[in-house]
């Protein structure tokens, strides 16, 4: 019975296997510089397997393959997130070749852990059952904790300590919620939970169920760095190795939203009245706190940390924008997926540029970015384009992402939320533009050129071309997103 389902898990299994191979290679090999290409090959295998699964889905009717008695599903939605997460991981690995030399003894661990974290995130997007969601979530969270601590200096240890404690608390609270939901509905499978909630009408009014749902939001809110659970973000971004921060901001957020969409739209679809408003309020507060506090930041990584909180708010507008009766999976969910792709390209672009610049000028202060445009025009241009996209101006991906989210909000009568979003876009322009102004208009501290290695430049180019491509031809990604959401129900 079980072995027949194993091929559904092939991408994750391949990734985990490659992570173990990387660890063993690190123990045996003397040449550490071979590890990065080895891990990139390791990422190519799951990508290829995911493509195979995608082609297989095309040929069968309900376009979804469920395995392990409903613990796990392969559909366009999960494959979409697999590609997104693997792509982000590949770019981060390409960009981290130089940073990795700073933790000389732990290079193999860096690559292996980042691959294990990706495996966890891919599982998160594919899990359709509370136990597997929890295991996947912890797999990615614990790998991330170790990644943050890799620098072993005071700041990095402090960041990972904070991250670990907050992650453990939020996942304990989430587990309590899951236990309550399991007790009330008698199942941990999302579809069964949805069935029980619609067939047994008195369940809906149970205060314990509402408590369970709110507790579950705690765990997921931590993952996507939404507001009441955002305290770790700036510290972790500042203390962690920069590639890890980049990875965390993009992949972890994407996986978190994938889980939220699955759990709340599939299992708790009959409770939208309760959670939609909650997400709307959290979205508004996240945007304001993220953007307003970002203005005061002097460290660019901290600033990007607060910006990531604000962007979690923008994306949550899409969660709040659920359709009226009957059309749950409306424009809101599509706008979330589009936003995640756009944000991945944009934020990776910004972070990779920061990796290159900060490691050379040995500072993360925005003031020290003065005149970077003259010291390396390409890096400065890439950072500027990424920041413009984070602001949400055309012709970049960020523009369409925000437009879609706000459109979805307006279509579902959430005009106030869309307005708050627009006000926040204007606020955010201030601190993003300040960085661009410092880079282009301030005189440089020295004329020495800032250099970067080839893989990093390639990764940066891919990210920037990606965000411009999405900005100019958004239709392509939109089509993919529609396919992905189409199989969700």
């Amino acid at each position: 019975m079980f072995p027949a389902d194993l091929y559904l898990l092939m991408p994750e299994l391949a990734l985990a296997g490659m992570a173990i191979i990387v660890i063993l290679a690190d123990l045996v090999l003397k040449r550490r510089d071979l590890l990065a290409p080895l891990s990139l090959i390791g990422l190519a295998v799951p990508v290829a397997l995911s493509i195979v699964l995608w082609l297989k889905l095309d040929s069968i009717d309900p376009h979804a393959l469920s395995g392990f008695s409903g613990f796990f599903v392969v559909d366009y939605f999960s494959l979409f997130f697999k590609f997104l997460i693997l792509g982000a991981t590949a770019l981060v690995i390409m960009a981290s070749r130089e940073s990795v030399t700073r933790f000389s003894r732990f290079q193999g661990e860096y690559y292996a852990l980042i691959m294990m974290a990706s495996g966890g995130m891919m599982l998160m997007a594919a899990a359709t059952e509370l136990v597997s969601i929890y295991v996947a979530l912890e797999l990615s969270a614990l790998s991330t904790v170790a990644l943050i601590a890799l620098l072993k200096n005071s700041r990095s240890i402090e960041a990972s300590m904070k991250f670990l404690i907050l992650s453990a608390i939020s996942s304990a609270v989430m587990l309590y919620g899951m236990a309550l939901v399991f007790g009330l509905t008698g199942s941990t499978r999302l579809l069964d939970i949805a069935d029980r909630l619609t067939s047994v009408s008195e369940l809906i009014d149970q205060p314990a169920l509402l408590l369970g749902v709110i507790f579950i939001i705690t765990g997921f809110g931590f993952k996507i760095s939404s507001v009441p659970f955002q305290m770790w973000v700036p510290d972790v971004y500042e203390g962690a190795p920069t590639p890890v921060a980049a990875y965390l901001s993009v992949a972890s957020k994407a996986a978190g939203f994938a889980v939220i969409i699955r759990v709340f739209f599939l299992a708790f679809g009959s409770l939208t009245d309760e959670w939609a408003l909650l997400f709307a309020v959290l979205a508004a507060v996240s945007m304001f706190i993220g953007n307003l506090v970002a203005i005061a930041q002097k460290n660019i990584k901290r600033m990007l940390g607060y910006s990531t909180i604000a962007h979690a708010g923008f994306i949550m507008v899409g969660l709040a924008a659920i359709g009226r009766e009957g059309e749950l999976l409306g424009p809101g969910v599509e706008s979330i997926l589009f936003y995640l792709v756009a944000y991945a390209a944009t934020n990776l672009g910004a972070f990779i540029a920061v990796i290159a610049i900060s490691s050379k000028i040995n500072s993360e202060l925005i003031d020290d970015y003065a005149g970077v445009a003259r010291r390396n025009p390409f890096l400065a241009f890439a950072l500027a384009v990424s920041l413009v996209s984070l602001m949400g101006l055309p012709p970049t991906a960020g523009f369409w992402a925000k437009l879609n989210v706000f459109n979805a909000a307006i279509e579902t009568d959430l005009v106030w939320l869309a307005l708050i979003g627009m006000i926040n876009s204007v606020i955010s322009a201030y601190f993003y533009l300040r960085v661009i102004k410092t880079m282009y208009l301030s005189p440089p501290a020295s004329e020495e050129r800032i250099t970067a290695d080839l893989p990093l430049k390639a990764a940066l180019a891919i990210a920037v071309i990606g965000l411009l491509f999405i900005g100019i031809v958004p239709g392509f990604v939109m089509d993919v997103v529609e396919t992905a959401v189409g199989t969700l129900a």
Partner: protein
């Protein structure tokens, strides 16, 4: 007869003690222990639900127990990692007091 309510109240009480410990304690090790209490409260809940509410012979009969086993093992992994980090913190800082872990603020 011991009803399920007893277990649920016990679990809620342990969970609240854990939450109190997390909020009130300043020593990293004690915070970890409090988190562990929260997780054990969840396990009591899961096993009580599984024993009392799920009819025998259903597919879900042992789901609560399986869930609890996963919680236990992942909690062990978490504690292992946390203690490793706390050891490192102690080496860097000669203290495991979370109040003193404050290089980065705002």
């Amino acid at each position: 007869m011991i009803n399920i309510e007893y277990y649920l109240v016990l679990s809620a009480a342990i969970f609240c003690i854990g939450v109190y410990g997390v909020l009130a304690r300043r020593n990293a090790i004690l915070i970890l222990m409090s988190i562990e209490l929260m997780l054990q409260a969840v396990n009591i809940n899961l096993i009580a639900f599984s024993t009392y509410l799920i009819p025998k012979g259903e597919l879900e009969e042992h789901l609560g127990f399986i869930f609890a086993i996963f919680v236990i093992t992942i909690a062990a992994a978490e504690v292992g990692l946390a203690l490793g980090i706390i050891l490192r913190l102690y080496r860097n800082r000669a203290s495991v007091n979370v109040d003193e872990v404050n290089l980065m603020k705002w």
